[in-house]
Every structure is written in C-alpha cells, then in structure tokens.
Amino acid sequence: MDTLGYLGQGFGVAMTPYNLITALVGTLIGTVVGLLPGLGPINGVALLIPVAFALGLPPESALILLAAVYLGCEYGGRISSILLNIPGEASTVMTTLDGYPMARQGLGGVALSLSAWSSFIGAFIATCGMVLFAPLLARWAIAFGPAEYFVLMVFAIVALGGMAGDRPLKTFIAALLGLFLSTLGIDANSGVYRFTFGSIHVADGIQFVVLVLGLFSVSEILLLLEKTHHGQAAVKATGRMLFNLREAAGVFTVNLRCGLLGFALGVLPGAGATLASAVAYMTEKKLAGAGGRFGQGDPRGLAAPETAIGASACGAMVPMLTLGVPGSGTTAVMIGALTLYNITPGPLLFQNQPEIVWGLIASLFIANLMLIVLNVPMIRLFTRILAVPNWLLVPLIAIITAIGVYAVHATTFDLFLMVGIGVFGYILRKLDFPLSPLLLGFILGGLMEQNLRRALSISNGELSILWSGPITLGTWALVALMLALPLVRIARRRAQGRRVPAEA
C-alpha cells in the first residue's frame, strides 16, 4: 500500500518533538482566537502565516501550525456558543440550539466535553475519508455545478422547516427575513446594487459577523440587563465537567451519521460547515422524532452539528489539496500561505510533494488528538467564565463584540449597524421569534438565489437543468423524503390511534 507508506512517513514528520510542540502551540492559540466572538479560523490562520514565515519554520511545520490553529479556532468558537449563547461564526449557530440550554441546566462542562468528543469523532472520520478516497473525492467536488448547489440549498431550506416547532409562522417569517437580507448589496449575477440606498458600506451586503453579533450578542447583553435588574443569574454554575459513558453511547450513532454527512458536504467547495451543521441537526431531529428534546438541551442536538462541523472542517481541505481550489474562507488564506512556500496546491501536489500532503493529513490527526487532550482539562477553566459577575462579564462581551465587528471593515458604520440589528434582535426575541432560522436563511439564501440564476444562465433559461443530472435527481429524492417523513409519522400515529380503541 502506497498510501499507508506515505501516511507513515507523514506521521514520522508530524511526530517529531519540534512539530508536536508546534501543534500544541497552534491548538492553544487557535482556541483562544476562536473563543473571541467575531474572530474565527480565517483570522487565526491569517494571523499566524507571517509569524510562521518570520520564524523561518520549514514548510511541514508551518502547515502543521496552520492546521492546528484552524482546528483550534473551530473548537474555540463553540465555547461562547455553549456558555454565552453567542455564536462567533456561522457554523456554530446550530450549536447554541441545544448547547446553551444544556449550560442553563448546569451541564456547561458536559456540553463542552461532549462537543469536543463529537468533533473529534467527526474529524477522525473525515481524516480517514481523506486518506482512503482523496483523489476520488476531487471528482465528487467538481461534479457539483450551480444546478446541484441550488438543489442542495433547496434541501437545506426544506430541512429548515424542521425547526418550526410550536411557532411555525414566526419561524417562517424569520427565515424569510434572513433570505431577504441575503439579497442586500451587489447582485453577483447582474451587478445591480440592491437596497443599498447609495451607501457604499452595504455595497457587499451585510457582513455575517455584524449580523450574528448584533442579533445574538447585543440582544443577549440587553436580555442580561433585564435579568440583572431582577436579580437573576444567567446560567447555573456547572458541576460535572465530563460526559459519562451513557451520554457518549447515546450519541454514538449520531456521531457516525453526522461525521459521514459532514465530510460529504465539507468536501464541496463553498458549501462548508454551516450547511453541514444545519443539515445534520435537522436530520437528527427528524430521526429522533417525538422522543427527542431537541432545542431544550438534548445531547444529540449538540452532538449532531458538532460532529458535522468537525468533519467538514477537515473535508474542506480536500478541494484545496486535490484541486487547488479553496473550500472555505480559511482554506483560501491557507492557499496563500502555501504559495509563499512555493507550494502550489492542486492536482500535482500529490505527485510532486507527497510528503507535504501526507504530513498535513497526519498533522490533522495529531492536532485533533491534541485538542481533546488539551481542552478537556481546560473546560474547568472555561466554565469559570460563568462565575464572573455580570457587571464585569457584560462590558467584556460588549467590548469584544465591538472589536469583532470593527475588525471586519475597520469602519464605525458597522458598529452602528450592529447596535441597530441588536435592538431589532432584542425585540424579535421578546416577541418569541427564533433567530437561528434567520441566520441560516441569510447564509443559504445567497447561495440558493445565485446558484439558481447561474444554473439558468448556463442552460440559457432551460429549467430542465435543475433535474437532469444524477446528483440533482438524488437530492430531489432526499427533499421528497424530508417532506414525507412527518406525513409518515402522522400516518403511523393515526394507525396506532385506531389500534388503541380496538384493543380497549
């Protein structure tokens, strides 16, 4: 086996003490950067590239450092989602749904360790997938054209319907608002500026960080003020830090399913972790049916998105390594870093510089292991955040949020916009509108509209392009399945209902 030989060689490179320390430092820095709302893997990786270069790190070590920071940031992002209900980036929106309720029940430590475990499994599955199928996966990634992406987005939006719960109308309105907001700014197909009112600040639309921090962080600050006014604590201090065996066993099948799903979606350039986590969460919610307490702190609801994020974070490396195409914003920055080292990611990399590729894959394995080893003892430290009194914690959140928003554009316009969005978000929350459908609608909406129109430009307006390929047909079948599942359940309940009186 060539592959195993190369992988062994890769581990040989990654396991030297020097590189192990590099990986450790990388995961630590990554966790800290990711912890800060508004700063994510892009910042972490962009930050360390010049450092790695200035330190004169050899290419393998630099890659290991970057991979470690990348995964560390992904991990750090969930800490604020779980403990404070502030998702720092798009993919962790789903983590708040069950993570925060868990923290409110005093299970913050359990939620953190369970999410670390889940994303470890996800990443492990994905890395194994990379080892086994990397060259094949390149074909899967390029098979997705605009039509395929459009149908995929339809699937995701239909899956969003599962979020409706007991307030379908409000969920619907929130999702529509998100979809609408995604149309702000320049229209990528026609170049028309939509709803910008001549302001250049929204020429590219609303930045996601501004939206998410406004909706979640600012509104949370205002809600906390109310609670402080009435003398309530936000989140109970946490007792247990580690999940127990029963909890791990309870989510194991979820881990497996969502790991595969996250990997398959993570490999697609541009779809990424957000889509993967949303679809994973919805699918698990559907599968759990009435037996789940999704949205109220169900461990499965936490494990599903976390596994998917972990898997897709690694999956995003596949298009980068095999095609030289960035699978996400972070990998775009990484490609820039690689070119500095005269490494051109792309089809030739596997042939010409296998040691780099396999070194990177091996370092993904190691960084993942490092993360879990490093972070489980640190959970105690993280949960201490909750012991900080509100009068200190809230100004801290407010200032960090402002920095996160300012860092996007370096203009104060965004700060005002964030406050405005925050007030709106606060009212929405008071009126019992769910905010996560809004955010997902915002992310998926842009992709859905642009890909539909791209597909139609390709086909010259022929609608049949939307169902002519095997992938589109397969995805439509999944859409139908997703729509049919609740009907099946209703039918089954009716059948049961009929049987019960018969027995009585």
Partner: protein, 152 residues
C-alpha cells in the same frame, strides 16, 4: 399583544416599501430569465402574507418560566444601554479604543450593578488589556484616537 400587532404592522409596511424599491431593479445585461428583482420580491411577498396573517391572528406570547415581566424601570435601563452602545460606536474612532472602551465599560458596569470604584478600575484594566491582546498580540488594528501620541 398590542405591541406585537404594532410591530408586525410596521414590519409589513417596511416590507411593502422594500418591495416597491425592488420593483424598479432591472439589469442592463441579463443572462438569465430570473433577474435581480424576482428573488427579493418573492421573499418580500411571502413575508408580507405571513406578516398580514400574524397581524390578524397574533399568537399569544409564551412567557418562559424564568423570565421576569418587563417593567418600566427595566425598560429604561435597556434604553439607556442601547444609548450607551450608540455613543460608544460614535466615539470609537475619535476617542480611540482605549478611552472609549473605558467609558463604556465603566458606565455599563454601573448599569449592571457594579460599584463605582470597581467599575472604573476594572474597565480601565479591561480596555488596556484588550487593546494589548487584540492590537499587539492578535494583529487586529484598533484606533488609538486621543492616545495617539503614545506610539512613536
């Protein structure tokens, strides 16, 4: 309930106004039949219908078990907090990060029940510490403002 209705009504009007604006969008060059205005119009249309429904038959709000009722004093505080954040946004660049964050931090700490002395000293530490963390360690450039003379 009344507030919810008013809010929905306002939102509905905004929706229709946006739709009116969207109606005017057309591309000088269009390579597909959908065009730049169809998607926003569809979203706004659906949203308007949903909002109209909501306006006619508002769903009574569920009061979460642990949620305190909103009284006048709390509302005033919330309004004050929003005001503070807006002032902060306005002063962020002119005063610089450290000075404006110190002011915001202290005022907010007071609002959230901290003592004067603790509020002033902790927020001073916070603003300087965060400046060093972000500007120096994490390479996120922050404005120095009135403290610009400190850096040579």
């Amino acid at each position: 309930m009344l507030f919810q209705r008013l809010f929905s009504a306002g939102w509905l009007i905004a929706c229709l106004a946006f739709a009116a604006i969207a109606w005017g969008y057309h591309a000088p060059f269009s390579y597909e039949p959908v065009g730049p205005r169809a998607f926003p119009l569809l979203m706004l249309g659906l949203m308007a219908v949903a909002l109209a429904w909501q306006l006619l038959r508002p769903v009574p709000l569920r009061q979460a078990a642990d949620e305190p009722p909103l009284d006048r004093a709390a509302l005033l505080k919330v309004a004050g907090c929003i005001g503070l954040l807006l002032v902060y946004a306005g002063l962020f660049e002119p005063l610089g990060f450290i000075a404006s964050s110190w002011l915001l931090g202290a005022a907010m700490a007071r609002l959230y029940g901290g003592r004067w002395r603790a509020a002033l000293s902790c927020s001073a530490l916070l603003s300087v510490g965060l400046y060093l963390l972000f500007d120096k360690a994490l390479d996120v450039p922050l404005p120095l403002g009135i403290l610009g003379f400190l850096e040579i």
